[in-house]
């Protein structure tokens, strides 16, 4: 038995060694591959003022941006550790309201999710709008429509119009690829493109994820859906809205109305480290760099502003 015990120990040790060997290999290939992420252990450098750890969670749409900015921020502030987690806007708002995280990322205003009994929780949250996401209606390439008015979109999404020929396209049945009722993207599309909440239609497809929506719209004959601008490409037809093309410039100028803020909420005023991180987010370096690179629209560039009730004002 003694022999066997030591044998098991050896096995465990070997596997740990093998694992660490794997890790070492990873590090070297990262270097070799020209990956920019730093592979040397972060050391406490004297002279940095900021310290502490920041935990952010929530919106999966905003997550890639926050991750990327966090990495940059950590590189210049070695004492700070920022963890970014997903979970969805609802989770982010829940966790920041319960003070389980420092920052709750959300695609929608907190007031829209934390209603009725939870309204006082929303009141305690401080909003930081870091980016803007615009949403465009897209169709399958074959339907032959390039532009829809607000009323036509409403008719399609409420099921009044069921064939593309009624709005000037081919004789093809309209297939709606919608989002689930809890989706922030759907809330934005309904508020600012349709101007009304729509009921789910029997037989409509609902997907939460932009990738799946894109795949289905490009594959399904007669399909219509809506996507954030960063997902658009040649596999789909992007529709103009009331004659306005959904472009970054049109959004910034306030001509194209279907957009929403990406929010980073803190519970009360943020502490020094969190504030520095959020301030860094609004610097020109990030707003014109990472935000644009990842397909969002810089919040700082917007020439119009919108409040929680949807009132738009020119800056």
């Amino acid at each position: 038995m003694q022999f066997r015990k030591s044998w098991i120990m050896t096995l465990a040790l070997t596997s740990v060694l093998a694992l660490s060997a794997c890790g070492a290999n990873n590090a070297t290939t990262n270097n070799g591959g020209g990956n920019t992420s730093a592979t040397n252990a972060p050391t406490e450098t004297s002279g940095t003022e900021l310290k502490g750890s920041v935990l952010a969670s929530g919106s999966t749409a905003l997550q890639p941006l926050v991750e990327q900015v966090a990495e940059k921020f950590m590189e210049s502030n070695k004492g700070v550790d920022i963890q970014v987690q997903g979970g969805g806007s609802g989770t982010g708002l829940t966790q920041v309201a319960e003070k389980q995280v420092d920052i709750g990322n959300s695609d929608v205003f907190a007031e829209e999710k934390l209603k009725d009994a939870d309204a006082d929780k929303a009141a305690a949250l401080v909003d930081h709008q870091v980016a803007v996401v615009a949403i465009a209606a897209v169709t399958n390439k074959e339907v032959g429509v390039k532009d829809l008015t607000k009323q036509q979109l409403v008719d399609i999404f409420t099921g009044k119009v069921t064939n593309w020929k009624e709005v000037g396209g081919k004789d093809e049945k309209i297939q709606i690829i919608n989002r689930p009722g809890s989706s922030g993207t759907r809330a934005t599309f309904e508020s600012f493109a349709l101007g009304t909440k729509t009921e789910d239609l029997q037989g409509s497809i609902q997907e939460d994820s932009s990738g799946t929506v894109k795949k289905l719209v490009s594959e399904t004959p007669g399909a219509i859906g809506y996507l954030a601008l960063s997902y658009l490409d040649d596999s789909l037809t992007t529709l103009s809205y009331d004659g306005v093309e959904p472009s970054v410039d049109n959004v910034i100028a306030g001509k194209y109305p279907v957009w929403a803020y990406e929010h980073m909420y803190t519970n009360g005023e943020p502490n020094e480290t969190v504030k520095a991180f959020l301030d860094y987010f609004l610097t020109d370096e990030v707003q014109s760099g990472d935000v644009v690179e990842l397909g969002y629209i810089p919040a700082s560039k917007m020439q119009v502003a919108r409040d929680v009730k949807g009132n738009v004002t020119t800056k």
């Binding site: 066997r4 590090a27 040397n40 990327q68 997903g86």
Partner: protein, 298 residues
């Protein structure tokens, strides 16, 4: 219809359906591997994923999957052995034993999404462990533990009675018999079962989306201090596993080669499961041979 004709038709149908299943598997594996294998390279397996550029890999995800599996087994194997040995050797038939057996059965058939939600509520939010490896491992424990209990119990039950009786005849204590007589004999079956259950853990996604999270912070593979936040070994960091990553890039992937990455990652996942299966078979046989040989020497 003549019985003989009926017999022939039935036999043909049975053979046809059986081969159809083989066909489904071959088609499935073929499809996954054909689409994915061309994308697998050393670089793909080791480099970090890219958010919007092509050429990202699944290095951290692969590491997370393996590390999470390791953590889960670290928790479940000792606990599963304890409970399994109790069920096989100590429990007297009665209401309590029947109840525990029922618990094991119910626990192992809970849908993984329910386990994930339970983990979200209790481990992530209530115990405030956040989306982390340790939350994921604890959630996986919920459905891996009953499997381990069952594997251990069955393994101990297959040990011939005579071995135990010989132990008693020598005046050994029950604990001594369990640890020195029965355990070595049961070990090969336990290991085989553990490796097979590991395959399930490796491919689990639904429970992990709500517990281990869907993000993978930058890992510093030169830093092996488990307490450092950027260390791969830190169990309190969020960790996206390979299976969750497939789900995520299928749905939210912005990189132009997201489809190929999903295909490649699927292939990696399937190949790993294949390896687990082969390893389970080979390992079980190997250890069995080792143990029986060493016994003869004694």
């Amino acid at each position: 219809m003549k019985p003989r004709t009926a017999d022939k038709i039935a036999t043909t149908l049975i053979v046809f359906f059986a081969l159809l299943i083989v066909g489904i598997l071959v088609g499935l594996l073929g499809y996954i591997l054909m689409r994915g294998i061309s994308h697998i390279s050393w670089d793909f397996l080791t480099s970090a994923p890219q958010k919007i550029r092509a050429g990202g890999g699944v290095g951290p995800q692969l590491f997370n999957s393996i590390f999470l599996l390791f953590l889960t087994l670290l928790i479940t194997v000792p606990l599963g052995l304890g409970a399994g040995i109790f069920m096989a050797e100590y429990a007297r038939p009665g209401k309590l034993t029947a109840f525990i057996r029922l618990i094991v059965e119910v626990l192992s058939s809970f849908p993984s999404i329910v386990v994930g939600l339970f983990g979200l509520l209790l481990i992530v939010n209530y115990f405030n462990l956040g989306f982390s490896l340790i939350s994921g491992a604890l959630a996986l424990t919920v459905f891996n533990l009953p499997l381990m209990v069952r594997i251990t119990e069955q393994a101990f039950r297959t040990v011939p009675k005579q071995q135990k009786e010989a132990g008693f005849a020598l005046g050994l204590s029950k604990w001594k018999i369990v640890t020195s007589v029965l355990f070595p004999v049961a070990l090969p079956t336990i290991i085989t079962g553990t490796i097979l259950s590991a395959g399930r853990v490796f491919g689990e996604a639904a429970a992990l989306m709500f517990t281990a999270g869907m993000s993978s912070p930058r890992l510093d593979f030169g830093n092996w201090n488990p307490l450092s936040p950027s260390s791969p070994l830190n169990p309190f960091r969020p960790a996206e596993t390979l299976a969750v990553h497939i789900w995520k890039i299928n749905s939210e992937g912005l990189a132009p080669d997201a489809v190929q990455i999903a295909a490649g990652a699927s292939a990696v996942l399937v190949i790993t499961v294949l390896i687990f299966n082969l390893a389970a078979r080979y390992f079980g046989r190997f250890i069995y041979r080792k143990l029986t040989a060493s016994k003869r020497m004694n």
